[in-house]
Assembly symmetry: C2
DNA sequence: CTAACTGTACTAGTTAGTTTAATACAGTTT
DNA sequence: AAACTGTATTAAACTAACTAGTACAGTTAG
């Protein structure tokens, strides 16, 4: 299940969309697996069905899910969407590295940080 | 000078605030240096003075600038603000690394990426 | 002191985005 | 036929961002 927070400044539909995208692209939810229906999820999260529908619509446009009238919404085959997301995050990564280095953080320090506990 | 974009979904005051914060903490603008006045910058960017004032107010709260009634706004001594910003960006960095690794990007790949052209 | 600059505060109105609400239609399944 | 599914539409409420106008307070140059 996913959670939403009213403390989070992001709109609800973005929280729902981002939470499912993360789980789907990470493989937590397998291709073909069914998502809760628009009405059921809106009821569980105590928000309006339109809010959930917007999240699902954007997930479908991204290629993360496939919605079929009368049947439901299902996790899609996401190789393409995963690659697009990877590129997007790597771009953010490069920008972040650049700003951190302008603040005096060294490449070595960042390298150790991604390495975890290897060196 | 800084630029704003009406294509950018971020509010104008955030664009102004973030642009100056970046330049100030990177040392592009030296401590003591005077910023354009609220009225002058609002005129140059063709936005309302209130919008600029909000950006300046937040920069002052962050410790990046110091505003004095009647005199103007000046770049502050930013060692504290820089350290706070560094911590903030490193937290974002860690989250980004975690999400990238959940997409199958390896630590090695990210390490090479921060290193630039060293390997 | 006056004029022209500076930051700051306040109120009001507009606009855009988010969310809710209610309703309706279309396809699937039992 | 009934109960589920996604989808579309319209209206309203609410909030944040932005604009507009005005006013006040401190500084500086004449």
């Amino acid at each position: 299940m996913i959670h939403i927070s009213y403390q989070d400044p992001r709109p609800i539909y973005e929280q729902v969309r981002d939470a499912y995208r993360q789980q789907i692209l990470a493989g937590v939810l397998a291709p073909g697996e069914q998502l809760p229906s628009v009405r059921e999820l809106s009821s569980r999260l105590a928000v309006n069905p339109n809010t959930i529908q917007r999240a699902y619509r954007e997930l479908e446009q991204e290629g993360c899910i496939s919605s079929v009238r009368g049947k439901g919404s299902f996790v899609a085959d996401v190789s393409g969407a995963a690659e697009a997301r990877r590129r997007e995050l790597l771009e953010q990564f490069d920008q972040l590295v650049q700003e951190l280095e302008s603040l005096g953080v060294t490449s070595e320090e960042l390298g150790q940080r991604v390495g975890g506990g290897e060196g």
